[in-house]
């Protein structure tokens, strides 16, 4: 039984899913943004972010005042640059959190 559990643990540890999780480059960013109160605002933000090569997808939640950016594989954007892009769109990023998607 112990041998079986050890084998199961090893299999889980080395499975593709857990391997990907260990190598996740934090490819989803959620930015809280001040001033984004209308649909034209969201279009401006999307336009600026989607111009970036490393950005795969942008979704905006007006109610939560958040911009969720999914990065392409191996693409990374630092917080200062993301904040600057939001400023260029005309708004103010107040916090950034990162997570693995999928």
């Amino acid at each position: 039984m112990t041998r079986f559990l050890l084998a199961l643990l090893a299999a889980l540890t080395l499975s593709p899913a857990s391997f990907a999780a260990q190598n996740c480059t934090q490819n989803q960013m959620v930015l809280e943004v001040d001033g984004m109160v209308c649909d034209f605002c969201t279009q401006s933000v999307k336009k600026v972010l989607e111009r970036e090569d490393g950005v795969a997808n942008v979704t905006i939640d007006l109610g939560k005042k958040t911009v969720t950016m999914v990065m392409k594989d191996n693409s990374v954007m630092d917080d200062a640059y993301a904040t600057e892009l939001i400023r260029q769109a005309g708004y103010k990023a107040t916090s950034i959190t990162r997570s693995c998607k999928g």
Partner: protein, 177 residues
């Protein structure tokens, strides 16, 4: 952007060069007085306040160009200020403009708007506003025009439809490239 109310028709094509500055062309006609304006427009965002649940702006509007009526023509220049404050439920705006066009026209006009959204739309949905607009043009005999209107936003399209209490139809349309 095109704005049409009664005999006045405006078309503005503005390219935003930076987040704080845009340039383009302003064309206006007044079919009652047969006046036409063509101007190079320059608009600047002087200040923006980004708040957790609201946004406020102060814009400078300006232009230089050419004006003509049936009898004469003149160089023209105009300048004005637009301020607004809005959250997802309420909207306010004040705008003024002084226009000088020599013998063709000289006027000052100002406008106030108050709006309310009957429901709160999410990103990508249709957003609707009920707005009451008051225009004041001191030089004119009947110098106040009151216009209730409906504003609808959908993605990159903004349309406003209304009618003044005197019966002048209003239609404005803006496309955000």
């Amino acid at each position: 952007m095109t704005e049409n109310q009664g005999a006045e028709h405006n078309l503005d094509v503005i390219y935003t060069l930076t987040p704080h500055f845009g340039m383009g062309v302003h064309v206006a006609t007044d079919t009652d007085d047969d006046i036409t304006h063509i101007a190079l427009a320059a608009n600047g965002l002087l200040w923006r306040g980004n708040y957790p649940d609201a946004q406020a702006n102060i814009f400078l509007l300006s232009g230089v160009g050419y004006s003509e009526d049936d009898h004469t023509s003149s160089a023209l220049a105009y300048a004005g200020i637009e301020t607004d404050w809005e959250n997802r439920r309420f909207y306010t705006q004040y705008q003024n403009r002084y226009l000088y066009a020599g013998d063709v026209e000289k006027n000052f006009e100002q406008k106030v708007r108050l709006g309310v959204a009957p429901y709160i739309g999410e990103a990508g949905e249709l957003h609707t506003w009920l707005i009451f607009q008051a225009d004041h043009t001191p030089e004119e005999k009947e110098n106040i025009t009151l216009t209730p209107l409906v504003r609808m936003f959908y993605t990159t399209h903004l349309m406003e439809i209304g009618s003044s209490l005197d019966g002048d139809f209003l239609f404005n349309y803006t496309y955000q490239f």
